[in-house]
């Protein structure tokens, strides 16, 4: 990614990816948008001060993961303060699907998301970076500051549990 002069350009190019990662690592979508905004501002400032840097994608991933971790650490107070929330299953169903397909798809997606939320934080991070962000296992380990062996262990456990959820096993 080349250094960008305009914040708007950066926003268009990076926001979808940053928001998607934040939504995976944080349960509250509003909070995810909030953190994504913070990350984009940091990215913009960093690009202004270090325009010669060329490895921004990895930088963005690392900063996003760290920002989400920070947000989760201070989440207990906001969780207490905020209203309770529930999943709305209608949001899981593609509008193009028929009623029966929609019901099945909705059920499968609900199971997958519930299983993902049930993973440990490390497993969530590793799976998101490897299979949603498409990083290599080596890059995942480096981004999360862990050994490659540890990243593989977390990843395999995450894959195992998510596949069980996919098959409908508890």
């Amino acid at each position: 990614m080349a250094a960008r002069n305009s914040y708007d350009e950066l926003d268009v190019a990076q926001r979808p990816r940053v928001e998607r990662l934040c939504r995976l690592l944080l349960e509250d979508p509003a909070e995810a948008q909030d953190v994504a905004q913070e990350v984009l501002m940091k990215l913009f400032q960093a690009q202004q001060t270090r325009p010669e840097t060329t490895t921004w994608n990895r930088w963005v991933t690392r900063v996003t993961v760290n920002a989400c971790r920070d947000r989760r650490r201070s989440a207990w107070w906001r969780r207490f303060r905020s209203d309770d929330s529930v999943l709305r299953e209608d949001d899981l169903i593609s509008p193009a699907a028929g009623p029966e397909d929609a019901a099945i798809a909705g059920e499968v997606r609900r199971r997958v998301w519930a299983a993902f939320r049930g993973l440990s934080r490390r497993q969530q991070e590793v799976f998101a970076l490897r299979h949603v962000e498409d990083l290599s296992t080596t890059d995942v380990a480096e981004t999360l500051g862990m050994s490659e062996g540890s990243a593989k262990r977390h990843l395999f456990r995450a894959v195992h549990r998510l596949r069980l959820a996919l098959r409908g096993a508890s």
């Binding site: 929330s85 999943l87 949001d91 997606r109 799976f127 299979h131 894959v159 596949r163």
Partner: protein, 157 residues
């Protein structure tokens, strides 16, 4: 098919790792090939589900619950403050209350001890309890209490 790859080995091979023997087995074994395809499909599907359609939580305000939650916090704070205040003033360090500062008690003492002489002594001044007792009982005090003591030897036994 007892030599089939374990889930972990199969996953490792698909991740681009695994031993030469495991890779060779995957290439030859119909069952493991099929398992590998299913795993690849599952991972792709899981990635799509988690990237395309994140579920949107809906904010559901619980009108009855939120005030109760805050009321509980307020109650705990008040109890904490009271507890701290009471512990900060130990009973022994507190000055004894003076009757003159408590009109109700003063009146009550006057009524109760009207006949005994205590009431007037208590009500007339801001003297301490011992002074009041001494004032009332001066005339009938035992000789041992008096400054000169008892001159009569017989009083000792």
């Amino acid at each position: 098919m007892k030599d089939c790859l374990s889930d972990r080995s199969l996953w490792s091979v698909l991740e681009g790792e695994g031993t030469e023997r495991e890779r060779a087995h995957l290439a030859d074994c119909q069952r493991c090939t099929s398992r590998g395809q299913r795993l690849t499909h599952d991972l792709s599907f899981l990635g799509r589900v988690l990237s395309d359609a994140p579920p949107l939580p809906v904010s559901v305000p619980h009108a009855g619950w939120t005030p109760v939650r805050w009321a509980a916090v307020a109650a705990v704070i008040v109890m904490g403050l009271m507890f701290g205040w009471m512990r900060g003033k130990p009973a022994l360090d507190r000055p004894a209350p003076v009757l003159a500062d408590m009109p109700v008690m003063e009146t009550l003492a006057g009524e109760v001890f009207a006949d005994s002489g205590f009431g007037s002594a208590l009500a007339s001044s801001d003297a301490t309890d011992l002074d009041a007792l001494a004032g009332v009982s001066d005339e009938t005090a035992p000789c041992e209490w008096l400054p000169g003591g008892c001159d009569d030897d017989t009083t000792l036994f």
